[in-house]
């Protein structure tokens, strides 16, 4: 079980963080470190692509919430790309759909973060 993190810069201020694999109590520190490095570098607008994420638990949600909290302190945003019904369901149950922007494609998430 692992998580792969791929960060892509764009023409604008937004970086795309593509995650692939499973985000749980074991792998979420890697995601936290990746988001932390970006935010430390002054990247405050993030699109986090969860399309290749097969599984996420509350520790993974906690990392995303922590990232959102940090970028908001700088007027930034975190938009998510997610179409997996099971993962969307977890955001629904926890009410996090009201906190994150959740989009069906990177393009839509990018447009929303401009």
């Amino acid at each position: 079980m692992d998580i792969k993190v791929n960060v892509r810069e764009t023409d604008g201020e937004t970086n795309i963080v593509e995650l692939a694999g499973e985000i749980d109590v074991y792998t979420s520190p890697k995601v936290k470190d990746a988001l932390g490095e970006l935010i430390d570098r002054g990247v405050y607008n993030l699109v986090i692509d969860l399309e290749k994420v097969r599984y996420i638990d509350s520790t993974g949600l906690g990392v995303l919430i922590g990232g959102l909290k940090r970028v908001r302190e700088h007027g930034g945003t975190v938009n998510l790309v997610c179409t997996n019904p099971q993962i969307k369901k977890i955001f629904d149950i926890t009410g996090l759909v009201k906190i994150f922007g959740i989009y069906d494609s990177e393009d839509a998430a990018m447009k929303a973060s401009v």
Binding site: Y26, S58, T59, G62, G66, K69, Q86, I93
Partner: protein, 142 residues
């Protein structure tokens, strides 16, 4: 003439013991998902069980002192899957999880909230003899 008593469902059980380490939680959730898939649960229900078990194991890792093992007992019958996640700590007293870094967000309760949302019945207890113990049930649709 007396009525025959109702037949009792046969309970089958599987027990798994994992080290109290984060890297083993995936093994527990996949094992229980495999058990759930032998029953009549839908794929969505199996995913619910998988997440609930992982949250219970994570809770056991983060909240108990002394224990070095987590026990997962699965009991199945024709109507339901009952999963017990327990650790037997020395004192049985749950202690506060380690302090979080400044940029982390306290999400206490989110895991338990998910378990309660995804499973049909949930019970939790902690005591000097039993350690911490979470019992959760997912019922098959009739």
């Amino acid at each position: 003439m007396t009525a025959n008593p109702p037949e009792r469902a046969t309970v089958e059980s599987v027990e798994l013991r994992i080290p109290r380490k984060a890297e083993w939680v995936a093994v527990a959730r996949l094992a229980v998902a495999a058990i759930a898939s032998r029953m009549r649960f839908t794929i969505e229900e199996i995913e619910d069980v998988k997440l609930a078990v992982a949250e219970a194991c994570t809770n056991a890792i983060q909240s108990a002192d002394g224990a070095d093992q987590i026990e997962i007992l699965c009991e199945t019958d024709d109507t339901q899957l009952r999963v017990t996640v327990a650790n037997r700590s020395g004192s049985g007293v749950a202690i506060a999880p380690p302090p979080l870094a400044e940029d982390e967000v306290r999400i206490d309760g989110l895991g338990v909230f998910l378990i309660r949302s995804l499973m049909d019945d949930v019970e939790y207890d902690a005591g000097p003899e039993t350690g911490t113990r979470l019992v959760m049930i997912k019922r098959l649709a009739s």
